[in-house]
């Protein structure tokens, strides 16, 4: 039987749920929870306005079809499934594609300064993997603008009172309480293994504290920092996901890491040059003569090799990212035709990304923010000089496994507590931290969409879950929480004290650099089983060495050194999940490419990788498992639900290959619908 009140616990406390992470996915979840009258504690590593969502530049996809091209959510679904190489379960993708126009309109109402057409309507640009103009954008900082819009709405809830069933405000209780500069450590699990709160650490005072919550939502982003330098923010270490995984949550498709084709190499970060640069006409090329020493502007058109246009005439520079990255990698690495540098006397790992044929005024209105990044950090003017770029780790398609329930139309069932539930009851995941929407490769401008759509689904899902609870987390004995808090406190003390007097203590930052260099070199664009075997051996070695790490800082205040040790330990665990998953998967699909197995192998591998933590240093890969959601046992298998778009080979050489509509062919759904879960 459900509890009497969803507002107050039996003991009279206000019942809250916890959202960890204040990027787009977290904030959207918070807003939806508040609209469902569920008060929230929002815990974030950084002030939410500084979350990694700000880095998204290019835009957000929605098939609004204002350009008279015949675009539709159905085509968006098909192209997303196709672009993801048929590894994504299709019902959530359908739900996302159908909700997209409404989401963009909602953001528009929130005041996002989207670019406009002369008629005052939203403007849309092209992005990779489609021939349609489907991407709405706000200058060149769309992610930032979207994040700010949601941040502003959440701020309204920070001053809104919690109201009880009788419409009376509860004194001193606000709908949203923010805890910024707090690091998530662990979920608190009760005796049945249900998540009833979490432990977090104040990064100013280093105080470790428990938070009670009827449910916990992780919206903690990707894990690119495992690869050392990437396009991700320094906070994207995947520590929360790793922690949840070590507590028993299943991790899915970890080996699928997106490498973005165009980034500026840098000492501290690889800064992205958005796909919108190509969407607005940017062309990728290298000189035909590999030893050409001329400046790019002096090289005539016919002496340039526009590699993507030559290899993929159908989609040209707008092939999906995995394909563009491999083409650039092949050109530079295997053919040694990267841009020649007379100073070093070698062909660098760089290709030109050229916008100089476009009008400067046009570029300033459409791409100023992106080109400003190049100008600022590379020190050259991209309006008049081709940019020099190379691929960089960009996005984790994989992440915590989350469930979904589909409705009769094959879309997501609204309000089902199964949507976005991890395999730990009461623990939810949304945004880049989960695996659900992108399959083996994410299409550009689908990430902002999946974060916001995910939040719109997770809010109601968590509200339903809370209603189903017989007992609130706030009525559990304090000891449940204090025990967990003590465990985290002890672990933190361990980090502070261990190896302080050791002569051969390891430095966590240096160890991280070694890990990152290896992961970047061996577990990204091309994968080889013998090399991956060595990587796994190395990770075991790192597992030993990390035990010898001494915290470089003993301070009781803002101790980033000790915090980093914890993140490093967690990164190592996920590194193994990624590398082992890559080794196991003997095929090529989306971002996962093995030259020894160059083809996609649907009979053996059209399935979700499901990783389960055994103990430190061991991963178990499951074919099926059972978990409990809102009192119901759910059976899960690794089969992919491809009930809406039939799998077929990806062929971007041919225009319109990504969607049936564009080629005039009608795609029949698969005859036998594959059930993912019963």
């Amino acid at each position: 039987m459900a509890a009497k009140s969803t507002i107050r616990s039996e003991g009279g406390k206000v019942r809250r749920v916890i959202v960890v992470g204040g990027g787009l996915a977290g904030l959207m979840t918070v807003i939806k929870l508040c609209e469902a009258k569920v008060p929230v504690d929002l815990i974030s590593l950084v002030p939410v306005k500084r979350s990694h969502s700000v880095c998204a530049q290019g835009g957000i996809n929605a098939s609004v079809n204002t350009k008279g091209e015949g675009d539709s959510p159905q085509i968006h679904l098909e192209e997303t499934a196709y672009g993801g190489d048929f590894l994504a379960n299709q019902p959530p993708v359908k739900g996302m594609a159908e909700a997209a126009p409404g989401i963009v309109f909602m953001l528009d109402r929130m005041g996002v300064p989207f670019n406009r057409t002369p008629e005052g309507l939203l403007d849309f640009r092209r992005f990779g993997g489609t021939l349609f103009h489907r991407t709405a954008f706000a200058g060149a900082t769309t992610g930032q603008q979207l994040l700010y819009a949601l941040d502003e709405q959440v701020r309204r809830y920070e001053i809104a009172d919690v109201v009880d069933e009788h419409g009376v405000s509860i004194p001193g209780e606000k709908m949203v309480r923010k805890f910024e500069f707090w690091d998530y450590l662990q979920a608190v699990l009760d005796d049945n293994g249900t998540c009833v709160g979490c432990i977090a650490q104040d990064l100013k005072t280093m105080q470790i504290k428990y938070f009670q919550g009827d449910a916990v939502v992780l919206a903690t982003g990707g894990c690119g920092i495992i690869f050392g330098r990437s396009t991700m923010s320094v906070i994207c270490t995947g520590t929360a996901a790793s922690s949840a995984y070590q507590q028993g949550a299943v991790y899915a498709n970890g080996e699928f890491i997106q490498v973005h084709p165009t980034a500026i190499p840098g000492a501290d970060k690889l800064r992205l040059i958005s796909e919108s640069a190509r969407g607005e006409g940017g062309r990728v090329w290298v000189p035909k003569d590999a030893k050409d020493q001329r400046s790019p502007k002096e090289i005539p058109e016919k002496e340039r090799d526009y590699i993507l246009e030559r290899m993929y005439p159908g989609y040209g520079n707008l092939v999906p990212r995995d394909i563009a990255s491999r083409a650039i990698f092949k050109t530079c690495f295997h053919e040694k035709r990267g841009v020649f540098n007379p100073k070093t006397g070698r062909n660098e790992n760089e290709v030109y990304l050229d916008l100089t044929h476009k009008d400067e005024k046009f570029l300033r209105s459409k791409l100023a923010g992106i080109l400003e990044i190049y100008e600022k950090f590379a020190g050259t003017d991209p309006y008049h000089n081709p940019m020099k770029v190379f691929p960089a780790v960009h996005y984790s398609m994989g992440g915590l496994w989350v469930d979904f329930e589909k409705d009769a139309r094959g879309s997501l069932k609204a309000g089902s507590p199964r949507n976005h539930a991890t395999s730990i009851p009461g623990l939810y995941a949304v945004g880049e931290v989960e695996y659900q929407y992108h399959g083996a490769n994410r299409l550009g401008a689908n990430s902002l969409l999946s974060c916001i759509y995910g939040g719109m689904v997770t809010g109601p899902s968590v509200a339903s879950y809370q209603k189903s609870l017989a007992k609130s987390a706030f009525d559990l004995p304090k000891s449940t929480f204090e025990k967990a808090e003590k465990r985290c406190q002890d672990d933190y003390e361990r980090i502070l004290k261990q190896n302080q007097d050791a002569k051969d203590a390891e430095n966590p930052y240096k160890l991280h650099q070694e890990l990152g260099d290896m992961m970047l070199r061996d577990v990204t664009i091309e994968r080889d089983n013998a090399t991956l075997e060595q990587v796994l051996g190395k990770i075991s070695e790192f597992d030993e060495r990390v035990k010898k790490v001494a915290s470089p800082d003993g301070s009781q205040r803002a101790n980033q050194g000790a915090q980093f040790v914890r993140h490093l330990e967690n990164m190592l665990v996920l590194a193994r999940v990624i590398a082992q998953g890559a080794k196991n998967r003997d095929e090529s699909r989306g971002a996962h490419y093995k030259p020894a197995f160059p083809k996609r192998n649907d009979p053996d591998w059209m399935r979700t990788t499901l990783a389960k933590h055994e103990q430190k240093g061991a991963v178990k890969y499951l074919r099926e498992f059972d978990y409990t959601c809102a009192g119901q046992s759910v059976h899960v298998t690794d089969a992919v639900d491809a009930s809406l778009v039939a799998p077929r080979e990806r062929k971007y050489e041919q225009a319109g290959a990504a969607s049936a509509a564009a080629t005039g062919k009608i795609q029949q759904p698969a005859a036998s619908e594959q059930q993912k879960s019963v």
Binding site: S51, V54, M106, R155, D268, I373, F377, A378, L520, P552
Partner: protein, 261 residues
Amino acid sequence: MANDTTKGTGRLVHLRVKRQDSPDLPETRRWEEFKVPYLPQMNIISALQQVQKEPRTVDGKDVAPVVWESSCLEEVCGACTMVINGRVRQACSALVDQIAPNGEMIQVEPMTKFPLVRDLIVDRERMFQDMKKVKAWIDIDGTHELGPGPRESPEAQQERYPLSRCMTCGCCVEACPQYNDSTQFVGPFALNLVRLFNMHPSGALHKNARLETVMGEGGVQDCGKSQNCVEVCPKEIPLVDSIAQVSRDATKRLLFGWLLK
């Protein structure tokens, strides 16, 4: 996979960092100097990262690594704001080649207008609180489907977008002589937000309520017109224009508002 940018050239970067262990320990305030290997395209963040890996001062003293705040490293999140060679800016976009082309010493300090946390970290919570005060949002009815927002001309969008790029980084208030802990002044960034939301067709429906938040103490009349803010804004937001606009609107409201009540 990416270009190997980790190879040094023998060149060193010289940093002088102002440190303090905790706000309640003023006696720990000190300057420490570090020399770290130069890397191509190096910025202050990568210099600090080098210090993190080898926290040893020029006098050979092993110290705790310097702490600072950072996130995106591409000057879009606002986190890594600090005072570098006397100028407030983001550390990620402060390139060593531009600041110290000949190996000059680079001085790095925390911002002074906010409570210190430790070393280069300060607490900018006041800015976020002031965003609540000035009602920096659009009052939407809900996130359910209600169709598109109001139409807007491309010109209006291009006026609004630059104002909307404020990262709450704190540069403007650091440079503002009127902004300190003895005044309530909300600062240039907050006044810019008032203008931004008042420009939006739906936001304008609550224009007066928003203006009234900046008509009393700590409001727009506290601006001393030094125009320092616009000089330091990393996003080149026309802050002085925004303040002037809000000031005009507030004056109009003050003079004629009673007619409408």
